[in-house]
């Protein structure tokens, strides 16, 4: 066990954990966050994605010791139901979900992309999302929501 400090959604946390623990467990069990989720534990599906130092990372295969000191944003860190982030608003406007389990990975992947490349084209958005799984297959709507957000920003 060792102390590791993280800045998560603007708050500084110090946790005392086995340094090999995947970041996902720290976020969901030590910090009680609901955004990142366990889907596969293999880095394949994207359910666990958080934005770590500006990049969408798969937290189920990222040891917490590797991200000590990092700045992390989870889905909770964008907006609240009363004060939605425009990207979250776009998902509601397009009714872009079924079960909603994949939303954390989808929304944060899009957020990280458009933060880096505000003029991302449709094919760049599609490319960024190609390894994020949605088993309800709500992709047509999710893509519309992301495009709506990207266009509103320009």
């Amino acid at each position: 066990m060792s102390d590791i400090t993280l800045t998560v959604n603007g708050q500084i946390h110090t946790v005392d954990v086995d340094p090999t623990t995947p970041l996902l467990y720290v976020l969901s069990d030590d910090l009680g966050l609901r955004g990142p989720k366990f889907g596969c534990g293999l880095g394949q599906c994207g359910s666990c994605i958080a934005i770590v130092n500006g990049r969408a990372e798969r937290t189920c295969v990222t040891s917490v010791s590797l991200v000590a000191g990092a700045t992390i944003t989870t889905l909770e860190g964008l907006g609240t139901p009363r004060e939605l982030h425009p990207l979250q608003r776009a998902f509601i406007d397009e009714q872009a979900a079924q079960c909603g389990f994949c939303l954390s990975g989808v929304i944060l992947t899009a957020k990280a992309l458009i933060d880096q490349n505000p003029k991302a084209t449709e094919s760049e958005i599609q490319r960024a999302l190609r390894n994020v799984l949605c088993r309800c297959f709500a992709q047509t709507r999710m893509l519309r929501a992301i495009k709506r957000y990207a266009e509103e920003r320009v």
Partner: protein, 801 residues
């Protein structure tokens, strides 16, 4: 619900979210039952059993309920707030929103004044299993909740008529306020009518539902009520349930199918940090630790000695294994006595065999549950689709009384049938019982895929048709073989899923019956009969077509793997074969696929969806295949398929347009056009969302998904081995066909005066057939085995050329 439901135990056992939900409501059920100022609509359990198709076990399972004991559906308090108790679960298809719409409509109150409480054996009625993602009208609760709302409205109108001194026929209501038509100054609110009094009434079967023509809330696209919490990461999935003193369990499943525990070496994990206990019960092995990562590491270190497995039939020869299995249960769906005679005198007889593999639900979230078993009582937080059945079977697994087990539904990731939600609930319960603390269990991806869920059924389907000299089908003959093992556990069969079987319960037996009895009435719930036969059994006619010579014989054999009701069970597999074969017959008669279908369809609503899909897709009338496509490179094609889902529960037709790379065998669907008729549409956008998801999930199942195994175990245990479509795949390195997310256009045919049907499983049922028909149209090659992998498409192309 009797005395076990005291507010003290209810509240002390709730998760923070469930508790806050009840506090939002303003009272616990106990408090409103005791308190003043409330109107409660309820009905008797016996009534539910008799008239609304709840299985008798469901009612008996309520234990101690006399026929006069009431299960409440709707309560309205003195402030006019409405609380709805439903036994139908949301799993991502919009059920919570549409049920709220239903009550808002019948009661004339805004959505914002309604709180929906779902599926908790302590506080909601037993409505059996929620299945079929809006596929079934009963799921939608039209008859139950809708009538409860109408009952309450009529009672309030009677009270208002007395209070206002106005004849009841002159009254109207909006936003929870009743007033005479055209007189807004004379008014009374629901809250004022209820005041400090208690009104308790049973559900009136004769209460008048609002006709669809007067709907203002139903029939509109109300935004999903759960989305704000979902998009902001506030939503509580079952994965997020945390209770005080909770620890973490991990299962250790057999390494190969049929292996049994010989010994478990507790010493192998004794020094590891956080380990609390190794739990063994027959062939169930679990390990409990303080933290999830500790439990995972301990599970990897635990030394278990297993016996040899039973071995598995070879996957390569599996379809022959099904066909030749000595132990089978055979059933005729329909059997006119003239099939052999008509086949012998037909001008042309065509035959083909279609193959469909085991497929997974493959829920994106690995199954998860939390259980708190203390002494003789248990509370389970579970994503099960069946809280009361799970209550009873968990009681069997734990050796407790059902009355002492409470199951609280907390949503999981999309399920599509029977994923590991029930199994993992048993896992958590067994480990919690052993350590006397709440235990959370989440399966690994491998355990989810190999030892968690019940797979969709594999099928071999032989098709044969006789055509007369005019090119019309006169006889249709189907014989199929599928395999089953286990099912939903229901109220008394925990052995139907993995963990129940590991602890020693038997799955429901498959009772062999080699000689199929003659059918006594026509039913097409599994879509075993094609749409083009009359469905005549004795004096009744239940089909949608006009082909009179008909025989459908089904065989079910034992499966080596657990099976269950994956989205559109049997219907999808059967319809893939029927609609592909219909296309083959049409092509052989050089007829246009739409025209040829219509020629053999009698049902006007099924004909209409076919026509609508073709019209919306600008269908070009001509036979398949296209004659102007080159034999190399990328070519385009189109295909159509249709079905009346379950024989009576949703009309749907689908046109698929795609590109085929004849060099690689890669496919790229560019456009889907769906026409759907499910009666009155409650939420147009909700139905569209279901159709879009169903179509793409159907595409994934058509082109990629297949459970694989070797001589002793499942090998498709992650997303690299189990080939779900990851959309978009447009820049897939091997993909030259420009695959993107296909365009999906949905034509909804609204029939306000018809019976409500299901939407959730309609479109997915016909995707594989429409895609296969489009491949044929593009290339002239018929692929008769799902999934249509590039290898299979390439092999079919090379065998033809």
């Amino acid at each position: 619900m009797g005395d076990r439901n005291t507010s003290v135990t209810v509240e002390s056992r709730m998760t923070p979210d469930a508790l806050s939900r009840l506090h939002q409501v303003g009272f616990s059920r106990r408090r409103f039952l005791q308190g003043s100022g409330v109107l409660i609509v309820a009905f008797t359990a016996a009534d539910m059993a008799d008239r609304f198709g709840v299985v008798p076990g469901g009612v008996l399972a309520q234990g101690g309920n006399t026929p006069q004991t009431l299960d409440s559906w709707i309560s309205i308090d003195a402030s006019g707030h409405v609380t709805v108790y439903t036994g139908r679960a949301e799993f991502g298809q919009g059920m919570s929103t549409v049920q709220t719409q239903l009550v808002a409509e019948e009661l004339s109150v805004p959505i914002s004044r309604i709180t929906l409480v779902q599926c908790d054996t302590a506080i909601t009625p037993d409505q059996g299993t929620s299945s079929g993602s809006q596929a079934h009208p009963v799921n939608f609760n039209h008859r139950n909740l809708g009538l409860a709302g109408a009952t309450a409205r009529e009672a309030l109108f009677e009270m208002a008529a007395t209070r206002l001194g106005v004849h009841i026929d002159r009254l109207t209501a909006a936003d929870g306020v009743i007033n005479p038509r055209g007189d807004a100054s004379t008014r009374v609110t629901y809250g004022e009518l209820i005041g400090g009094q208690r009104f308790s009434m049973t559900l009136k079967r004769e209460a008048r539902r609002k006709p669809p023509s007067s709907w203002t809330i139903l029939g509109t696209s109300v935004p999903r009520i759960d989305l704000p919490d979902l998009v902001t990461g506030r939503f509580e999935f079952v994965d997020n349930v945390r209770v005080p003193e909770m620890v973490h369990g991990r299962v250790v499943r057999p390494p190969v199918v049929g292996a049994k525990v010989v010994s478990v070496d507790d010493g192998s994990v004794s020094g590891l940090p956080g380990v609390l206990k190794v739990v063994v019960k027959n062939d169930f092995v679990g390990i409990v630790a303080e933290r999830p990562w500790q439990a995972m590491q301990a599970a990897n270190s635990l030394t278990v000695t297993w016996s040899q497995g039973t071995g598995l039939p070879s996957q390569r020869g599996f379809y022959d294994h099904l066909r030749n299995h000595p132990s089978r249960r055979s059933t005729y769906v329909v059997n006119s006595d003239d099939v052999d005679a008509k086949l012998s005198r037909a001008a042309t007889v065509l035959e083909a065999t279609y193959l469909y593999p085991y497929q997974m639900h493959g829920s994106i979230g690995s199954s998860c549950a939390v259980a708190d078993v203390r002494g003789t009582t248990a509370t389970i937080w579970s994503a099960t689709q069946a809280v009361y059945p799970l209550r009873d079977t968990t009681a069997m697994v734990l050796g407790l009384r059902p009355d002492n087990v409470r199951v609280i539904f907390v949503r999981g990731s999309g399920c599509y049938g029977l994923n590991g939600a029930d199994t993992v609930s048993y896992d958590a319960a067994l480990m919690s019982q052993s350590v006397g603390r709440p235990v959370r269990v989440q399966l690994s991806r491998e355990d989810e895929m190999a030892w968690g869920e019940n797979y969709g059924l594999p099928y071999v389907i032989d098709q044969r048709a006789g055509v007369d000299g005019s090119g019309n089908i006169i006889v249709w003959d189907v014989e199929s073989w599928s395999a089953t093992f286990g099912a939903r556990p229901g109220y008394d069969t925990p052995g139907n899923v993995v963990t129940g079987a590991l602890v020693g319960f038997q799955p429901a037996p498959l009772i062999p019956r080699v000689q199929a009895p003659e059918p006594t009435r026509f039913g097409n719930r599994g879509n075993a009969a094609p749409s083009y036969v009359t469905g005549r059994v004795r004096q009744t006619v239940g089909g949608t077509g006009n082909v009179a010579g008909q025989r459908v014989l089904q065989h079910v054999v034992p499966s080596p793997f657990f099976t269950g009701p994956l989205r559109s069970p049997r219907r999808l597999q059967n319809t893939f074969a029927h609609e592909s074969f219909m296309d083959e017959v049409a092509a052989s008669m050089q007829a246009d696929p739409v025209e040829y279908r219509l020629r053999h369809l009698a049902d006007t609503r099924l004909r209409e969806v076919v026509n609508e899909a073709a019209r919306a897709a600008n269908w070009e009338t001509r036979p398949s295949p296209r004659t102007d496509n080159p034999r190399t490179g990328v070519v385009t094609g189109r295909g159509i398929a249709c079905v009346l889902y379950e024989g009576n529960n949703g009309y749907v037709a689908l046109v698929a347009e795609l590109n085929v790379d004849q060099g690689t065998g890669d496919l790229a669907v560019t456009r889907f056009v769906v026409a759907l008729d499910v009666g009155p549409i409650s939420s147009p956008d909700g139905v569209k969302n279901q159709v879009e998801g169903g179509v793409l999930q159907g595409l994934s199942r058509a082109v990629g998904e297949e459970v694989t195994w070797d001589s002793e175990k499942i090998t498709s245990v992650d997303w690299a081995m189990y080939k779900s479509l990851f959309l978009p795949a447009w820049d897939h390195p091997r993909n030259a066909v420009g695959s993107q997310i296909p365009m999906i256009e949905t034509v909804l045919i609204n029939r306000p005066d018809a019976e409500a049907m299901g939407a959730g499983e309609t479109a997915i049922t016909i995707v594989a057939a429409a895609v296969g028909n489009a491949i044929f149209d593009a290339t002239g090659v018929r692929v008769r085995e799902v999934p249509f992998t590039p290898e299979r498409v390439r092999a079919a192309l090379s065998s033809l050329r």
